[in-house]
Symmetry: C2
Subunit: 141 residues, 2 copies
Amino acid sequence: MATRTAAQRRAEARAAYDAYLATCPARQLLDRISDKWVSLVLNALADGPLRYRDLERIIAGVSQKMLTQTLRALERDGLLSRTVTPAVPARVDYELTPLGRSLLPVMAAIKAWAETHIEEVRTARTDYDRGVAAELPAPRP
Amino acid sequence: MATRTAAQRRAEARAAYDAYLATCPARQLLDRISDKWVSLVLNALADGPLRYRDLERIIAGVSQKMLTQTLRALERDGLLSRTVTPAVPARVDYELTPLGRSLLPVMAAIKAWAETHIEEVRTARTDYDRGVAAELPAPRP
DNA sequence: CCGCATCCCACAAGATACTG
DNA sequence: CAGTATCTTGTGGGATGCGG
């Protein structure tokens, strides 16, 4: 029969929505800055250019793989520049581009909201967790 | 010997850094809004309260699991309220709290930056990809 | 209508080892 | 120093079916 199943219809809706989201600028930006390492790199480079090794040291827990991957992604998006100075050993500096710098105020806005409201959020969480716990009365031994 | 291996030192650094990040307000906020569905739910509820079914319909590609999971997380953080109207069938409304509403300007700032600079990013990407392609000259058969 | 429990897999990311 | 290459593992998220 011509009628599609519910699963099929959902799959179609998903495909269409994914396509839409792929073109949504805000979505793309969120995908970038939401990355754990991206925000840390941006923050580290806010004060000036740094070498690969310095980034690795400052962002204490990052693996080589993730650091390189992150730097490549940001370079590709034009948010930072990569400068190779041929020497032995080689030297590579990373620096925010003007485009990258223009993103810092946005990050600052996020930070500001977070710091202003974090207490409310924490309170809400403990309240919520208490409420949930209350619905499951502790078994009396 | 007392000397720790490089792997051990890195593991410790990671643990310490993870602990630090877990307490960083900005990091926590990013973890929330970076979620694909969170931003969509926030956006959908910006104009007023909606029922579960309506959200499912508006956010076309979402699975039940993710929608429920997302709504619970936002409720727990005090960003939206969940109101159950006992009836048959049951009716549940979701609505942004004042705290949730206060987040909308931040989302708007992200959106604004994205829409303003998306073209630069797109240009940077194609330039970068062309450059990479140029470094790997097509194999002459 | 609203939601939870279960199974399952694809993919992200860490560990490790090796090069220019 | 600044990466690349390969392997392995953890987990986010989809599909499905049941319960209030």
